[in-house]
Symmetry: C2
Subunit: 148 residues, 2 copies
DNA sequence: ATTGATAATGAAAATCGTTTTCAATAATAC
DNA sequence: GTATTATTGAAAACGATTTTCATTATCAAT
């Protein structure tokens, strides 16, 4: 049923292992939750979720595992006006993040190619563009109904 | 010479006053620095800069003034991978932020109209888009030379 | 399977940036 | 000028994250 998540979980563990990390119980539990979450999660939320299945895990390990996954580019910090501490699986290629401001649900959408805009800005300001961030905020279909 | 900054400074003070805030020495000093800075500044950096001209000002007042200016939409927190604590004068309309990753210099560029992209995403995901957030990172002309 | 080297762990303490509290001060309306 | 009351700076409190360290568990080599 959740073949997609299962596959991603295995891939993340593989990449962790390849990097020389040991595949411990806490790490497996943390990856398992992250891969399956439809929302971006704060370290403490993730900690709570992990402890349901793996009661012994410490908050410090959650922080350390998030760092490792971020270093591998598997997970990304999400920036919001209220604070920037939630993490989400990282977008690939031209994907960008779309967040529901009410329930926090997150989507990764394949955005337009923004290169023309970058070229234009680069020409105007003389900058050499290295990176860009685009994020959209709105109401998901469910929350739109709720609100109506 | 710096008529532009001077004008902006007066405008910010006017808006603070209109909101019912008192025009105190510390506030004037903080606004003066912010309006003239070509870089986004952390509260502590701003504090240091302010204290050169107004030695008595406390760090707490810097925080409180930044909050007030942010509430008025005059100043905006800048998001970066290394942390999200620097503040910059806020973009207007379709303006977005362009940051030099080396020296921290910031530009506000008039970006393309991104509405078509939003409409496309809204249609595909059923979201009602409320807000968007675009930032570019790169090397400014000066830092490009330095590096070469 | 057993072992040994060492990466990873959890708990406690330390640290960092920011916010709260509070008595003293200063800006504004009268 | 004077009274009112927002603003101030210093100290203490705070929450999130990081560091430290002794113990435990993974994994490679036997």
């Amino acid at each position: 049923m959740d073949l997609f998540e299962q596959g991603m979980e295995n891939e993340w563990l593989r990449q962790l292992g390849e990097r020389g990390s040991r595949l411990t119980g806490p790490r497996r539990a943390i990856v398992r939750i992250l891969v399956r979450s439809r929302r971006a999660l704060e370290p403490l939320e993730l900690f709570d979720a992990v402890r349901v299945e793996a009661p012994g895990v410490g908050l410090v390990t959650v922080y350390r595992t998030l760092d490792a996954l971020e270093a591998l580019g598997l997970v990304q910090r999400i920036h919001e006006s209220g604070g920037c501490r939630r993490y989400l699986r990282a977008p690939h290629g031209h994907q960008h993040v779309l967040l529901c401001t009410r329930c926090g649900q997150a989507e990764l959408f394949d955005g337009d190619d923004l290169e023309p805009l970058f070229a234009q800005v680069a020409a105007r300001w003389g900058y050499q563009i290295e990176e860009h961030w685009l994020q959209l905020f709105g109401l998901c279909p469910n929350c739109r109904k709720m609100k109506a």
